[in-house]
């Protein structure tokens, strides 16, 4: 395949590439598209809907807790709400929303035309949607999961939880692990194979480092959740005894398996978000990130150390002191790479000329919340303190500072930053400032008092509390703060919808940012790059002014690869072009396989074995059909 510059003129090249890459405007196109930008947007919208659903669940709970002895919700309804709130936010919002950003941004920021496995990418989205539908369909039969998002045995065993509630939980999460696992495989392969030539591993944006680290963590950690959920399902459905102490099982086995997965998962839902911040703060500080190498290494180190701290969730279970000491030390050590990142961000702002636009406000708010959540985390790594606050609102406060501070704030910043790329229109700055301050003040008003409620001894997950315990005022303040925060989120939605209609036209690079996604039009064409770029530095679009030693990137000239659906493959570390890769066409197989798996899992849920087996046979048939090479591919090789 010849890779020299195209002989055709630009408009006809555009027509030619459009014919090859554009998804048809038809039902087939809707269900069969493999365009990473469409899939990324679907991820973002779907995950945001789950954020709103989880928010409504929280709002109902705060209504109940606004004062003592309130009975808006029954205890059972309250149990289902706090469980689904946790499941929704942790599994259906926090990780998928970051997958959405990665899906949309990666091929653009890496200078490629799609992800490594476009069909797997579509499948990953459909499976995410399927697991969300599966978990939420539990509300239709009034049997939603109700034993908390970490679902400790033996409360979840059939003896103590006879309904379908926890079957929805176990099977719904297994469906989600399929989505997440194939997504991680896709991200890892993409970063190692589908970059712009010259984008060696030391030139990757930190956001890419974040999702890459996360993807490896998923491959090693997520099977632990799968195993735990399979065992839970087997115990409940087939009367096995994994967590049943009376027959040789052990409830703590669940806790080990869950947290071996669970703590790395915390980093799965914060590292890409921290990566977004590491790339965004330099743009608004008008200078490169200080300490790039240290921040990249800190990202990877956090991902690895995250595997050595799971027992700090279990300090109060009576495990041996030697074990708690080890995990306590490891949990304190993990603060070090986080601090490296914080100091790098502060130094970048300090050394730069900060521009106070809305994405920067959210980034600054993020740093404040990150430090607060980090401090309340590192003190609970000390075993005696942990014993004091275990299962109190102090822990609730800590985990919300971490998850809202290090996930939601960067996500909103990411929307303000990249939505103009996706829609071609800017969000409003004045509304953006209102949006930020409402969310920031509302959040702190709502969640800071939870620390105090916890220290006053209020246990988490109580559906109500009697008057006179000194908890009334802090709870009322928390409820008011939570609703102010909710108004802030609504302001964001208003801003998004207003921008669709009236937003200022963004142009290719409204922020004057340095990375490749800003080199193409907003929104980008279906094929991303008319000619595939070559990269000579970490900041391809800032080379003129930075005058760093090193090469120059070439954005406007390069191979067009317009003879078929093709992109460039590179060597894994130094990104030397070594292959032209033929990319798959749109396909309905991913959609139908997801539907068929959903049917299979409803069969497993209800014990309708005929349905489950028929679904399983269909799963196999569709997988074979998917993998069977097209006529085109067979001819290409023989």
């Amino acid at each position: 395949m010849a890779t020299s510059a195209p002989a055709v003129s630009a408009p006809s090249l555009h027509e030619k590439l459009l014919r090859i890459w554009e998804t048809p405007h038809s039902l087939f196109g809707v269900l069969g598209t493999v365009d990473h930008k469409k899939i990324g947007k679907r991820y973002l919208v779907t995950a945001f809907v789950f954020l709103l659903l989880g928010g409504i669940e929280a709002a109902l709970m705060r209504l109940q807790l606004a004062g003592p002895d309130r009975h808006v919700l029954s205890p059972e309804a309250y149990n289902q709400l706090f469980t689904m709130h946790g499941v929704t936010m942790i599994f259906l919002y926090a990780s998928p929303i970051l997958s959405g950003f990665s899906n949309y941004v990666w091929p653009l920021i890496l200078g490629s035309r799609d992800m490594a496995f476009p069909r797997l990418n579509a499948f990953s989205y459909w499976m995410f949607l399927a697991s969300g539908i599966f978990l939420y369909s539990s509300f239709l039969v009034g049997q939603s999961p109700d034993r908390g998002w970490f679902a400790y045995a033996p409360m979840t065993e059939g003896t103590y939880s006879p309904g379908l509630n926890m079957d929805f939980y176990a099977l719904g999460l297994i469906l989600l692990t399929i989505s997440t696992t194939v997504g991680a495989i896709n991200f890892i392969t993409t970063v190692f194979r589908l970059r712009a030539p010259g984008m060696s591993i030391n030139r990757l944006p930190i956001f890419v480092w974040g999702t890459l680290t996360t993807s490896f963590a998923i491959l090693f950690a997520l099977p632990s959740l799968t195993v735990a959920c399979v065992m839970l399902y087997f115990d409940r459905r087939f009367g096995m005894h994994f967590f049943d102490a009376s027959s040789g099982g052990h409830p703590l086995l669940w806790q080990h398996l869950f947290w071996i997965f669970g703590h790395p998962w915390v980093y799965v839902i914060v590292l890409p978000a921290m990566g977004i911040m590491s790339d965004l703060i330099p743009v608004f500080s008008r200078r490169p990130l200080v300490g790039y190498t240290y921040v990249a290494l800190a990202t990877v180190a956090t991902g690895i150390l995250g595997f050595g701290v799971w027992v700090h969730h279990m300090f109060a279970t009576g495990i041996p002191a030697l074990s708690t000491d080890f995990f306590s030390a490891a949990s304190m050590v993990i603060a070090i790479p986080s601090a490296v990142a914080v100091f790098a961000w502060l130094a970048t702002i300090w050394q730069g000329r900060p521009v106070m636009r809305t994405p920067f406000l959210f980034a600054a708010g993020f740093i404040v919340l990150f430090v607060m959540g980090g401090v309340s985390g590192v003190v609970t790594a000390a075993v005696p303190f942990d014993w004091q606050v275990t299962d109190t609102y102090f822990v609730v406060a800590h985990l919300h500072y971490v998850l809202v501070g290090i996930n939601v704030f960067p996500v909103i910043a990411g929307f303000y930053f990249w939505l103009p790329k996706m829609t071609g229109r800017m969000l409003d700055e004045r509304l953006g400032r209102w949006n930020f301050w409402t969310m920031f003040l509302g959040f702190n008003l709502g969640f800071f008092p939870m620390h105090i409620a916890g220290l006053l001894g209020m246990p988490r997950r109580v559906y109500t509390y009697p008057a006179g315990l000194g908890w009334d005022a802090v709870n009322l303040i928390t409820t008011i703060g939570a609703y102010v925060f909710a108004v802030g989120v609504l302001l964001f939605l208003v801003n998004v919808f207003v921008s669709f209609r009236r937003g200022r036209v963004a142009g290719p690079n409204p922020w004057d940012a340095p990375t490749l996604e800003w080199a193409v039009s907003s929104p980008p064409p279906p094929y991303n790059f008319a000619v595939l770029p070559t990269v000579g530095s970490r900041h391809p679009l800032w080379e003129e002014r930075l005058q760093e030693p090193g090469g120059r990137s070439r954005i406007d000239e390069g191979p067009a690869l317009a003879e078929g659906r093709e992109t460039l493959g590179v060597s894994p570390l130094d990104a030397q072009a070594n292959e032209v890769i033929t990319m798959p066409e749109d396909s309905l197989y991913p959609f139908f396989l997801a539907v068929s798996l959903l049917v299979t899992f409803y069969g497993l849920l209800t014990g309708a074995w005929a349905l489950a087996i028929a679904g399983g046979v269909l799963d196999v048939a569709l997988s074979i059909g998917w993998l069977w090479p097209s006529h085109r591919m067979v001819e290409a090789v023989s």
């Binding site: 997520l222 065992m231 009367g239 398996l257 093709e566 072009a577």
Partner: protein, 198 residues
């Protein structure tokens, strides 16, 4: 260093060990290996917590499992032989090798079913029973999936899809099969051998 130049001519879908499809299979194996690691962790964890003897019914017999282990190892050899064949362009050797692998895999599963039939305990007897059947069952399911993959690749081989240069599907299936064998060695060592010397 300047921006790296792109060679004037590049191979299309070069295949080989660096191909995207090979990355996909390697990463599947990584995550599947982790899955079995957690299953075996559960086995040893519950074993270490057991109040009575472990396993409760004594170490499982080797009478069927040991020969079965050799059968599965032999199937890895035949699969290796088949893949090495297509690397030299020998299509007939590929098909014969894969047929032999499938036959050995089916024998392995059949013997495992016979062994299940003779067991004095079920998955519902106690936690050990749950572990034994779940772990060996998960492995058996992986053998079955591997067999299905080899069957599909055999049909494709019959249709002449593979050449000396282009046979990534064969290589991927071969790696998966070797992986399933290695997992069995870990399962066999943990469930059958470790009770004899731990």
């Amino acid at each position: 260093m300047t921006a790296s130049a792109i060679p004037e001519r590049l191979p299309v879908d070069a295949g080989g060990h660096g191909a995207t499809g090979a990355w996909g299979m390697i990463l599947v194996i990584v995550t599947e290996a982790s899955l079995f690691a957690y299953l075996l962790f559960s086995y040893f964890y519950l074993g270490s917590m057991a109040r009575g003897g472990w396993p409760p019914s004594g170490a499982p017999e080797l009478r069927l499992a040991l020969p079965n282990t050799f059968i599965l190892l032999l199937s890895s050899v035949t699969m290796w032989w088949a893949e090495a064949g297509i690397r030299r362009g020998a299509r007939g050797r590929l098909r014969v090798g894969m047929l032999a692998t499938m036959a050995l895999g089916i024998v392995f599963l059949a013997i495992q079913l016979v062994e299940y039939h003779g067991k004095q305990f079920t998955p519902r007897t106690d936690a050990y029973g749950s572990l034994f059947y779940t772990i060996t069952g998960f492995h058996g399911a992986h053998v079955a999936v591997g067999l299905l993959m080899i069957a599909v690749v055999s049909v494709r081989a019959g249709l002449g899809h593979f050449t000396q240069r282009h046979h990534l599907a064969v290589t991927n299936v071969t790696w998966y099969w070797h992986f399933v064998d290695v997992v069995w060695l870990a399962v066999f060592t943990s469930l059958y051998l470790s009770p004899r010397f731990l």
